[in-house]
Symmetry: C2
Subunit: 312 residues, 2 copies
């Protein structure tokens, strides 16, 4: 392997603390991990590709590292799972500076440490073009208790965590050429995977179906409806949308939110806040197979999946 790549990787390993921890799985062909007794494995993989999922001129390195891991953790959250370990495949262009790599690793590990998960393995390569990352998160969940997309029944109520629309709103400002301070726009640059909320909903058996909003509410609610064989109606006035004339559109179709969208049977009492995160009821599932939205003017329209398409 070329010297510079080797140095980059050594730096990543050192930063991740992997070299210091010899033995089981570290520096081996595979990582070896014991899952909690009676748990099933959850696995998710997500690309973070330069020019597709981020731009180096828009996103500081620590934000790219944070968002890379957040994508995987959010998928674990959406199953009600507990993250156990992360694996990072990272291909870097040779011209990339060490400072960028350090920033990426710092952002990645800061989030990993907050959820007490280790960077346990991965792969590295020289990239032919741009930064290419693929994050794998292994999680676990008590056997048979993962919250799937397929558990909603007609008449269940639809809920969402947090607020909707600000991630794409920030992206639109970046597209318009605005210079933004990343710390002032955390929903886009440092999104928070809703792990504690997902685990709470699973433990209390409140959620009948769940997904994270990565492709936009309209698209991801469509996934729940498809897998659960239901329709849904959403009340626009109920959405926790950001302010502004674009607010409703961004709340319905904006992606990369990493909020949880879930359904619950009508007889279950869902708290207004879970671990400090606001929970908003936004509609219900229906017997038909179509999605509808009741607009602020009282009119009902078809709601078509029209979600997030990254940067195209």
């Amino acid at each position: 392997m070329p010297l510079q790549e080797k140095l980059l990787i050594q730096r990543i390993r050192r930063a991740a603390g992997a070299v210091a921890k010899r033995g089981k799985g570290i520096g081996d062909d595979c990582a070896v991990l014991e899952l909690p007794r009676g748990h099933e494995a959850l696995i998710t993989t997500d690309f973070s590709l330069e020019g597709v999922h981020f731009r180096r001129e828009w996103h500081p390195a620590d934000s790219v590292g944070h968002r890379c891991l957040a994508r995987g953790l959010s998928d674990i959250a959406a199953m009600g799972g507990v993250p156990q370990a992360a694996f990072l495949s990272l291909a870097l262009p040779l011209e990339l500076g060490q400072r960028w790599v350090d920033g990426f690793v710092a952002g990645f590990l800061k989030l990993a440490n907050r959820f007490s998960i280790k960077l346990t393995g991965g792969d590295s390569a020289q990239s032919p073009d741009g930064v290419l990352a693929d994050i794998v998160v292994l999680g676990s969940v008590p056997a048979g208790q993962a919250v799937l997309r397929s558990g909603a029944r007609p008449g269940h109520l639809v809920y969402v965590t947090g607020t909707l629309g600000s991630s794409v709103d920030t992206l639109n400002q970046l597209r318009d050429g605005r210079k933004l301070s990343p710390k002032a726009y955390p929903k886009h640059f440092y999104p928070e995977p809703r792990l504690a909320v997902g685990q709470y909903l699973r433990e209390k058996k409140l959620a009948s179906a769940m997904i994270d909003i990565s492709d936009g509410l309209s698209t991801d609610l469509g996934h729940i409806c498809e897998e659960s064989h239901t329709g849904a109606v959403v009340e626009a006035d109920a959405l926790p949308a950001i302010a502004g004339k674009e607010g409703l559109k961004l709340a319905l179709h904006g992606g990369e939110e990493y909020e949880l969208l879930f359904t619950a049977p009508p007889n279950r009492r869902v708290p207004k806040k879970i671990v400090g995160i606001p929970i908003t009821r936004i509609g219900e599932t229906t017997r038909g197979r179509t999605m509808k939205v009741v607009l602020p003017n009282g009119k009902t329209e078809a709601l078509k999946p029209g979600g997030w398409q990254h940067f195209d």
Copy 2:
């Protein structure tokens, strides 16, 4: 997501049989998998990047798909593990034809089917440049029985499966501009992960340390020595090298072999063949921390890790 990407992905899913199998994990945020009782999880991730690990003008699509999965399966083999499921993150350039994708999927699934493992999930994206694949294989092994790199002790015997050198020999011919029929050079185009051999060695408790030869014998033996705190001496005459004046060099340093390299205590009888694959004793581990090779002329030289560097 752009229409063409969507169509490509639907085709992959259909080919993989994923769409037909609704329910647990399929079409969900994570795959949900139950490991055999008393087993630990093995996880490995490996990039297959166009221009780094393969070239579209050299490697037919089904070979790229086969090699992509073989990289992951070989890591499971090197732990003595049983593969359980594969996850594929695949980014494709928009101009890529459907025929190439079909070929990739066919090569991937043919190998997967032979080992009865399912393509259970993954991610997809539009690639900014070239085909980008990252394979994740989840395997399992009875708790505490994974064969690590760190178990060799001074005086253990060193063994290797199959033959060495032909994968890079084939690559050198491709580099020289030769047109080759892939089926005639299976060690390079369709390498065979040594899963049954790895499992046999683990079950019979024959191997004290094990690794697959992906970076070349000299580099990968170096990994065993480093993790086991030993040195090693290799007898050049004993190597199952391919013929030709480059044979010894290719056997010592050529990569992408996917053969297993393992050590065994001297009192264990290692068969000359395991499930039909020849096993060759090539040297032993030593108390010093250096690696040496005894050349055919009887002279002993230092053996430096000088392995495989992909296509640079």
